[in-house]
C-alpha cells in the first residue's frame, strides 16, 4: 500500500494532468452534441464488434433451440398465408378491390447483447444505419414486443427494451378494445404494469393484450402479454393491472425491426393535436 502511495506521489504532476485532461474530455463529450455523437458512434461500433465476435462462439450453444423456434414460427407464418384458405361459399363472389399499400417492413436482426437485471435494460442489435434502421423504430420478436430503437450507428443499434423506466407503450385489451399505457416497474422481468384502465372495464385473468397501433412505432395487433392480476386502486377510479409479458427477455436472439413507411405522415397529423 505504501508503495502505491509513493508511486502516486512520485508521478503526481503527470497523474494530476491526466486527471484534469480526463475531466476535460468528459466535459467535451457530455456537453457538445457533435463530439457526443461521434464518441457514441465510435464506442458503440467498438462494443458492437466485440459482442459480435463473442456471439459467433456462444451462438453454437443455442443452435438447437433457435432452430426449433424458427421452425415453429415458419409453421405459424405458413398457416397465415393466403393459399391455405379455400373459398367457402362459391356462389357469392365479392371482388375486393382495395389496393394494398405496404405500411410496415420487417427487418430481421440478431440481438448481440441484452440486459434484463437492471432498472433500465437495453439491447444491442447487429443491424444499423447501413441496413436501413432508423431511431424510434419498434422491435418485436416471434412472441411479442421487445423494445424501441434509441441510437443507431453504421452497423449496430442500441434499443431500450420494454424493461426500462421510460417505456410507454399503448396497449389495448383484445376482447373489448379498452386501452392503457404499458410501463415497467423495475421488479420482475416477466411482468409489466398497465395503467389508465378505469374501474368500469370488465377484466378477466388471462385476457390478452395487444398493441394499439396509436404510436407510429408498433403496428396494431402485436401481442404483448396476458393479464396476470388486477385490483382496484383505493381512492382512484382505476385498476392496477399486472401483465405477464409474452416475450421472454432472458433468451432473446432473433428479432424484427419494424419500419413504418407511413410514420412521418402519422406524426405530422398527430402534431396538429399539440398546437391547440
Amino acid at each position: 500500500m505504501r508503495n502505491l502511495v509513493n508511486l502516486f506521489w512520485k508521478y503526481q504532476f503527470t497523474l494530476l494532468f491526466l486527471l484534469l485532461e480526463f475531466v476535460a474530455f468528459a466535459l467535451i463529450v457530455q456537453y457538445n452534441k457533435v463530439h457526443k455523437a461521434r464518441f457514441l458512434n465510435m464506442s458503440s461500433a467498438v462494443a458492437g464488434s466485440v459482442y459480435q465476435a463473442t456471439n459467433n462462439i456462444t451462438d453454437y450453444f443455442t443452435l438447437k433451440r433457435i432452430n426449433r423456434e424458427l421452425a415453429r414460427e415458419n409453421a405459424k407464418l405458413r398457416t397465415m398465408s393466403k393459399d391455405v384458405f379455400i373459398k367457402y361459399r362459391g356462389e357469392l363472389v365479392s371482388i375486393d378491390d382495395t389496393l394494398y399499400k405496404q405500411q410496415y417492413k420487417y427487418l430481421g436482426a440478431k440481438v448481440v447483447n441484452s440486459t434484463t437485471n437492471r432498472r433500465n435494460n437495453i439491447l444491442i442489435l447487429d443491424r444499423g444505419r447501413n441496413q436501413g434502421v432508423e431511431p424510434e423504430s419498434g422491435i418485436i420478436c416471434a412472441n411479442g414486443i421487445v423494445g424501441v430503437i434509441k441510437d443507431v450507428s453504421a452497423n449496430y443499434c442500441s434499443a431500450i427494451s420494454v424493461l426500462h423506466k421510460n417505456t410507454r407503450i399503448s396497449a389495448s385489451i383484445k376482447k373489448n378494445n379498452y386501452y392503457g399505457i404499458l410501463k415497467w416497474d423495475g421488479k420482475d422481468p416477466q411482468y409489466a404494469t398497465l395503467a389508465d384502465i378505469p374501474k368500469h372495464v370488465p377484466l378477466a385473468l388471462g385476457d390478452q393484450l395487444i398493441t394499439r397501433g396509436s404510436s407510429a412505432i408498433f403496428p396494431a395487433g402485436i401481442g404483448i402479454g396476458t393479464i396476470a392480476m388486477f385490483e382496484a386502486i383505493p381512492g382512484s377510479n382505476f385498476y392496477y393491472v399486472k401483465v405477464k409479458l409474452s416475450t421472454d427477455f432472458r433468451n432473446l436472439s432473433y428479432v424484427y425491426v419494424i419500419k413504418n413507411l407511413l410514420k412521418e405522415e402519422q406524426l405530422e397529423l398527430e402534431a396538429t393535436f399539440e398546437d391547440d
Binding site: 494532468f17 484534469l20 485532461e21 467535451i28 461521434r38
Partner: protein, 170 residues
C-alpha cells in the same frame, strides 16, 4: 507593490474578459482566431508549483469555455499546455538553471528564448484545440494550416503584449 498572487489573479480575469469580449470577434479570413488568454499560463512565475499551473490552466480554460459554449475544449488544450510548460522550461533552461524571481518575459530572458518558449507552447495549445474541436484526423492538413496561422497571430499578440506589460517597469 501588489503581491504576485494578486497580480496573477487580476491578470486571470483581465485576460478572460479581453478574450471573450474583444478577441473572439476577431476572425481573420474566416478561420483564424487568436487566443490571447494563453498569455496567462505563459506569464506565470517560473517557481509556480506544477500542480498550481495545471489547476489554474484548468480554471482558465473553463472560464473561456463557459463564454464560448464549447464546454471542455479550451480546458483540454490549456491543461495540456500547462503540462508541457514544465517540460519546455526544463528544455530551454540556461546552463545554471533559472535564478529565483526570474520572470518568463522578453526583458528577463531575452527575445530568442521567449520566442521559442512561447512559440512551442502556443503551437501545442492550438494543435490540441483545433484537433479536438474537429475531433477527427481526416482533414489533417487544413486543420494544421489553421493551427499554424492562428498560432502565428497569437504569438504576434503575445510578443506585442510583452512590450506593453513591461514597458512601465523599465
Amino acid at each position: 507593490m501588489i503581491s504576485p498572487v494578486l497580480h496573477n489573479v487580476l491578470r486571470f480575469f483581465f485576460l478572460i474578459v479581453l478574450q471573450v469580449l474583444i478577441l473572439n470577434n476577431i476572425n481573420l479570413g474566416g478561420f483564424i482566431n487568436p487566443y490571447l488568454y494563453v498569455l496567462f499560463i505563459l506569464m506565470l512565475p517560473m517557481e509556480t508549483p506544477g500542480w498550481l499551473v495545471l489547476l489554474s490552466a484548468f480554471f482558465l480554460g473553463l472560464g473561456i469555455d463557459v463564454f464560448m459554449q464549447t464546454l471542455g475544449i479550451h480546458v483540454a488544450a490549456s491543461v495540456f499546455m500547462a503540462y508541457c510548460r514544465q517540460y519546455v522550461l526544463r528544455l530551454l533552461s540556461p546552463r545554471e538553471g533559472y535564478d529565483f524571481g526570474l520572470q518568463p518575459s522578453i526583458r528577463d530572458m531575452g527575445f530568442v528564448w521567449y520566442l521559442s518558449f512561447a512559440g512551442i507552447l502556443i503551437l501545442l495549445h492550438h494543435c490540441l484545440l483545433f484537433f479536438v474541436e474537429v475531433f477527427r484526423f481526416s482533414e489533417f492538413f487544413s486543420t494544421m494550416g489553421r493551427v499554424m496561422l492562428s498560432a502565428f497571430f497569437t504569438l504576434l499578440l503575445v510578443v506585442l503584449s510583452q512590450f506593453l506589460a513591461y514597458k512601465k517597469s523599465q
